[in-house]
Symmetry: C2
Subunit: 341 residues, 2 copies
């Protein structure tokens, strides 16, 4: 059933039917009623591809999903997607997801944009000096970036959390508890948030005249195995750190396993603060020793970004171009005073 058939059925022109359906004012209320009735009976649905072609609007947001045969699925991605979805469903928007090799992000994003079946783009996993920014700017299609790109002029629309502030505050707390030997368990080095979090730690330490040794920093994918490995390494250092900062509860999961295996007590021998993206599966309060965290909901960020993206496409009011969310520092049992030698 298409528009032509429907209009013939009704004895109206395609124009009138189309207008009736799309809420244009210049159609008689009685006629509109009749059209709506027929739609209900026939189950007619406009073909989106045709609609897209005619209007240039598709009712969809595009995003790239990094993937590859060995590439581990990322719970952060899923959680963020849930946030996007929650908002999208309210506006009858859908997603076009382009799977792409992580090394092929730029090209994949361009393909997605030019393909003509998305109205707006969402970009995550930002890197320092991210090459995608230049491309996005040249595209004349709305987009919002999750995170920022360290080293690039901040003249693009983004939503980010204050990573530097979060880790600065967390470090300060540990300093106040008397710790002096720190380690940082971070995400991949090239990612923007890793850079900023490291800076936060370093600047808080610098205020006390402390530095973060190269050996006390790990940069790795945020998986529990990597957390385990990194922590094992830290624990073997001659001057074992007593205060650990951790970029994700996923990393913390492995890290804590290493602590337990070494027979150390979390919150006493070792203090740890992790960043909490509020993943339903990894509640910091559910750890055997509840985790002190810096918290910011990834899902909430997804909802907000969808709002901005969809709002922009629908031209519904202006949105702030750049948002920086503060994180909360929530103290639980995984942090304690520095142990006496």
């Amino acid at each position: 059933m298409n528009l032509k058939q429907l209009s013939e059925l009704l004895g109206l022109s395609q124009t009138t039917v189309s207008r009736a359906l799309n809420g244009y004012p210049e159609v008689n209320e009685a006629t509109r009623e009749r059209v709506l009735q027929a739609v209900k009976e026939t189950g007619y649905r406009p073909n989106k591809a045709a609609q897209r072609l005619a209007t240039g609007k598709a009712g969809s947001i595009g995003l790239v999903m990094p993937t590859a045969p060995g590439h581990q699925s990322d719970v952060h991605f899923g959680e963020f997607l849930a946030g996007l979805g929650e908002e999208a469903v309210r506006h009858d928007f859908h997603f076009v997801i382009m799977p792409a090799d992580p090394d092929d992000e730029v090209a994949a994003l361009r393909r997605l944009a030019i393909s003509g079946n998305v109205d707006a783009l969402f970009v995550a996993y930002m890197r320092g000096h991210d090459p995608r920014l230049a491309m996005l700017k040249s595209l004349s299609m709305p987009y919002v970036v999750h995170g920022r790109s360290f080293g690039s002029e901040p003249d693009y629309p983004y939503l980010d959390i204050d990573n530097e502030g979060a880790f600065y505050d967390a470090t300060r707390l540990l300093l106040q508890l008397g710790h002096t030997r720190f380690a940082l368990m971070n995400g991949p080095m090239h990612l923007d948030f890793s850079i900023r979090r490291r800076n936060g730690v370093i600047s808080a330490l610098a205020e006390r005249g402390l530095t973060l040794d190269e050996g006390c920093m790990s940069h790795a994918l945020m998986t529990d195995e990597q957390g385990l490995l990194a922590m094992e390494h830290f624990l073997q250092l001659p001057e074992r750190p007593t205060a650990i900062l951790c970029s994700s509860t996923v990393l913390a999961l492995g890290a804590i396993r290493a602590v337990n295996q070494a027979g150390l007590r979390l919150g006493e021998d070792i203090s740890l603060i992790a960043h909490d993206d509020v993943l339903p599966l990894l509640k910091p309060e559910s750890f055997s020793v509840p985790l002190t965290t810096t918290r910011s909901s990834l899902r909430a960020a997804g909802v907000r970004i969808a709002q901005r993206l969809i709002g922009t496409v629908k031209q519904a009011g202006p949105f702030p171009d750049q948002e920086l969310w503060k994180t909360e520092l929530i103290v639980r049992a995984s942090t304690g005073p520095v142990p006496q030698e």
Copy 2:
């Protein structure tokens, strides 16, 4: 840059350029070369919406993502998606994901199908007597179902694991270890796999003249909280079960927390077998007491389903319509002989 502009640039007709691009034989090799060169220089990409409209093919598979404001994101979904993506990226396919309220699945699926921007559908979270099957059959669009629908004629294309066999075998193992008091921690009652797993347990027990008490069965969302709650309930029963079967490592996570909190030892006081979807975050061997599991990779299922779906769209050879994968039973430390009273 569109076809028209490109063809003008080359001094060729749109037809010729289109044919050159799509690998038709009736175009001079020299001409094709020239066209390809121009494409490279101009960065021309065909508009997918137009292509879809003209050909009826879009290079995309559609799926519905259950979501709602309170609805917790599901790691199983993410892991499966990773599998789909891994295969899709090889064929330059993308996904169209329609977020929808879980109560609105049928309508959402129909919208997605009729929208005209997908070539094939993937359906998951199958229920007993699933109403979506009838709709899918009427659609004349390829689809593959993950799981089956208990109570419906099995005349639809699916890929499923042998849930009944898995839980039958797991129960047998526990019976051999001398256990007689069982409990089952299952997924939502209406879902197909829950039904089959329960049947597997019940039939293994029946062979020994045992039954599964109503109070020893929980049906709930597969979250760690629910696992905790269910296990707490089991532990308070007058005749405390010693053998637990668990539909997911996510449930097991919470369940084990409850076991620990009760001061019981897993693998000694309580034996537990969980089904393992091979989630990267929840490796059964990484639990403090490694988990005995029935294993089948969700991601591998995603890859295979994408293969079948894309293969069907591309009309690349016939595919088996129905596949039933066996699971592996892997014994680790969470199972042991029934404790002496």
